[in-house]
């Protein structure tokens, strides 16, 4: 009994000497692109090259939250499209991604902030999203566990509530996309880092791996924390800073929190997994680093804020904490699309906000790779927007990656 008749999630084919399309990076975004290339465009002459293993990168490290509460049309559009896709993906992939729209609650701590949230909510409504501004008893009813009464340092003025926001089983996203793409005939290679991107006359023609050279028509780079290193193989210097971001979980307890809640005086977001653990995350550590370990100061900072929302958390202990490399661009938004080298495209700069957008990026990038034309939803995220001054700065924080 049990799982004896289940085949491996992905096949282990022989590597061919040539593919039409090479996707560098077997994370959520790369695998989603592979899946949609096969499903929407019938393109399966594709190799996905993963330097480590499937489900071992930022797809495994994030805090599993999905939502689309962004102010600017470009940011909102892509993430809200993703939210729509998330709702259908378990059935489409025949793999339970455990999408639970438990509701996302973004807390405002002053009237001014709540007003700003109202503008954001209105922008979202214009884009077709369902969203509410909650205050007082309505907020307490939505999040009964929230402490609204104590003399907190930053009292809660109200909240933006997105009912479709929630959590998704993050590992299942990587495995589900990988399995479906592999079933469609796309080749996925683990432990296959790209060591060289070969370019002749401004046109990409092959990549080198320790297992040999792969000739190809086009290359798509989607490697999150390793974006600078991989882009440098093509001689590109990206406007990206690499900053570490931490997350942590408590021991598992019986259900004690339904919604996903974010504290905005500083940053601290929290949800409870199906297994019962509380997952917490916060802002980046604020300094550039490729080290996958973080400072204890950030952990204390995030926990202090979480305790203001839910004082009962002081009775629990952290089981694990970890850190990953976030690729953050100068306006805090992603860089998606074609690069100045023919046949080379990229998806990077998601920082620690990329998980929620996974299927939308895959869907749009597949369209770009299939048609050699940039689809509307990702048009604003071009690589050259920094040179043109067309930044997408949701936070209005200016060109400082650590502020995003």
């Amino acid at each position: 009994m049990g799982n004896k008749r289940w085949p491996a999630i992905i096949a282990t084919p022989e590597m061919r000497s040539s593919y039409d399309t090479v996707i560098i990076g077997g994370g959520g975004h790369g695998l989603a692109t592979a899946h949609y290339l096969a499903k929407n465009h019938g393109i399966t002459d594709v190799a996905v090259l993963e330097g480590s293993w499937i489900g071992g990168g930022n797809t495994a490290r994030n805090t599993t939250i999905v939502r689309s509460d962004y102010l600017l049309n470009a940011s909102f559009g892509l993430k809200n499209f993703a939210l729509k896709l998330w709702g259908e993906l378990s059935q489409e992939l025949n793999f339970n991604l455990m999408y639970e729209p438990r509701g996302y609650v973004d807390l405002a701590h002053s009237d001014g902030e709540l007003e700003h949230f109202t503008i954001r909510a209105n922008a979202m409504r214009l884009g077709g999203a369902s969203v509410e501004i909650l205050t007082g008893q309505a907020l307490q009813d939505c999040v009964p566990e929230l402490d609204l009464n104590s003399a907190a340092r930053f009292p809660v003025a109200g909240a933006l509530f997105q009912p479709a926001g929630g959590v998704i089983r993050h590992d299942a996203v990587a495995w589900g996309f990988a399995r479906k793409a592999s079933q469609a005939g796309i080749h996925i290679f683990q432990k296959t880092p790209v060591t060289k991107i070969n370019i002749t006359k401004d046109k990409v023609n092959s990549v080198d791996t320790p297992q040999g050279r792969i000739n190809c028509r086009q290359v798509f780079i989607s490697v999150a924390g390793a974006s600078n290193q991989v882009a440098s193989l093509a001689g590109l210097d990206l406007p990206i800073h690499s900053i570490n971001v931490q997350a942590f979980v408590t021991e598992p307890v019986k259900p004690a929190l339904k919604t996903v809640v974010n504290y905005n005086a500083g940053l601290s977001y929290i949800s409870q997994t199906a297994k019962g653990e509380f997952v917490l995350g916060g802002a980046s550590d604020g300094y550039n680093s490729f080290a996958r370990r973080g400072s204890f100061a950030r952990i204390e900072d995030v926990l202090a804020r979480a305790l203001q929302m839910f004082p009962f958390l002081s009775r629990l202990r952290l089981m694990r904490h970890w850190s990953g490399t976030a690729d953050i661009s100068m306006d805090g938004n992603a860089i998606i699309g074609q690069l100045p080298i023919d046949g080379l495209s990229i998806n990077c700069g998601w920082g620690y906000a990329g998980f929620k957008a996974t299927p939308a990026v895959g869907h749009q990038m597949a369209e770009l790779l299939a048609n050699n034309a940039t689809p509307d939803l990702i048009k604003p995220f071009t690589y050259d927007r920094f040179a043109n001054g067309a930044e997408i700065d949701d936070a209005g924080a200016g060109p400082y990656p650590w502020h995003h």
Binding site: N3, S90, P252, A256, A274, K275, G276
Partner: protein
């Protein structure tokens, strides 16, 4: 009132038999002595079954005697309210604790969650990803809430915690983590050489493995040497001894983070220490590696040094008839000697190379089956299995992949 069996040995142990402490476990009044941990207190009262596993609700007992305890998690209620998921091996006993088992309904002995196992282990690894898919939205609306309620372990007390906590800093030349023979000797040597020294120990007394050792150091028996060294360290003005303090991580630039747990009468329930030292010495000892075999999680199956520790340090007998599956000779002889001193009958001693088949029993291990080196199948009744296998010396089971659910 229910009968509570007394598994306390008539003498010995580093417990104070003049100070009796009262506590309750799932509503049954029990007693123990000052110096006990909750684990030794429960075992002294014959309580091996203390928990249910996270997913299949298997009966679980006490496996270890330290922070490596994987199974025996309980909820402890004191003046601060209730705290879930505490390892019984880490709770130092004080008077008046209310202890409750977790993750079972209606009771620890008759947990309906065990029926999850019916259907032949249908909920094997990866099961969730392939099931509960249809109809659309059913996962969120119906299945997830059911699974969420079955998962989790303890219940968190939703009321705010009124205890005080503090954050403090310390600096020193030499920081020693762990107070076994190596740690104590290192701290003493460093301090006598003039270095400001901090010695951190998670336990409430110094000594580590010395506290249940029969060895001798400098002509003294181990426990006396530990007591003398502890006294010598306390007498030195340049040493700070921090017991009940768990160093849990080293961060960039040598920052050590540690949690000190308060005791009765302290203002703070816990203090978070940030310690920076010129030199850090890790003297944390080892954690035993168990053998993996079907039924290995039944109450009554214990690590070899844990058995020694319960007998020698806490004067508690963890069983009456034992099977010994300890591959390393030194550990095996130590465990056998301790059990013989405690009057535990040794039913069988496995040799390295023997093939473990299974341990059986519903709420407690009652029999053990294996094949000896001649290929003969052996089975014996027992209520204690002592296991340890650092180098995978035992074959397990039958050369096939073990089908073990947890």
């Amino acid at each position: 009132m229910s009968h509570v069996p007394d598994c306390r040995l008539p003498d010995g142990g580093l417990i104070d038999r003049n100070i009796t402490l009262n506590f309750s476990f799932d509503g049954i009044a029990m007693q123990c002595y000052s110096g006990d941990t909750l684990a030794s207190a429960l075992l002294a009262n014959g309580q091996h079954l203390v928990a249910r596993s996270l997913k299949y609700h298997h009966p679980r007992g006490i496996v270890s005697a330290g922070l490596e305890e994987p199974s025996a998690l309980v909820t402890v209620t004191d003046q601060y309210g209730s705290t879930p998921n505490l390892k019984v091996t880490e709770v130092v006993m004080r008077d008046g604790l209310t202890v409750t088992s977790q993750n079972n309904h209606p009771s620890l002995k008759r947990d309906y969650g065990r029926f999850l196992k019916l259907g032949g282990g249908a909920l094997s690894a990866g099961f969730y990803y392939k099931t509960f898919l249809w109809p659309k939205h059913a996962w969120h609306k119906y299945f997830a809430p059911i699974i969420r309620n079955l998962a989790g372990q303890g219940r968190v007390d939703p009321t705010p915690d009124h205890a005080h906590y503090d954050k403090r800093r310390k600096f020193c030349d030499v920081l020693v983590i762990g107070s076994g023979p190596a740690g104590c000797a290192a701290a003493l040597t460093a301090a006598q050489g003039g270095a400001t020294t901090i010695l951190i120990e998670q336990d409430h007394i110094l000594g580590g493995s010395l506290l249940y050792s029969q060895d001798s150091i400098d002509g003294l028996n181990a426990t006396d040497w530990a007591a003398d060294t502890s006294e010598a360290l306390h007498a030195l003005s340049n040493v700070t001894v921090m017991t009940r303090t768990l160093a849990f991580g080293q961060y960039d630039h040598g920052l050590i983070q540690a949690i000190e747990t308060g005791q009765d009468g302290d203002i703070n329930r816990a203090i978070m220490w940030k310690i920076r030292a010129r030199k850090i010495i890790l003297a944390t000892g080892a954690i035993e590696r168990p053998v993996v075999f079907p039924g290995n999680d039944k109450p009554g199956i214990m690590l070899a040094n844990a058995v020694c520790q319960y007998i020698r340090r806490f004067a508690v007998s963890p069983g009456t008839r034992a099977v010994v599956a300890v591959a390393a000779e030194e550990d095996r002889l130590r465990a056998i000697a301790a059990m013989q001193d405690a009057g535990i009958e040794i039913a069988a001693i496995l040799s390295p190379g023997d093939q473990i088949i299974s341990a059986t029993g519903r709420l407690h291990v009652n029999a053990f089956t294996w094949k000896n080196d001649k290929g003969q199948r052996q089975r014996t009744k027992c209520d204690l299995v002592v296991w340890l296998d650092a180098n995978r010396a035992y074959i397990c089971p039958d050369g096939r992949k073990a089908d073990i659910s947890c």
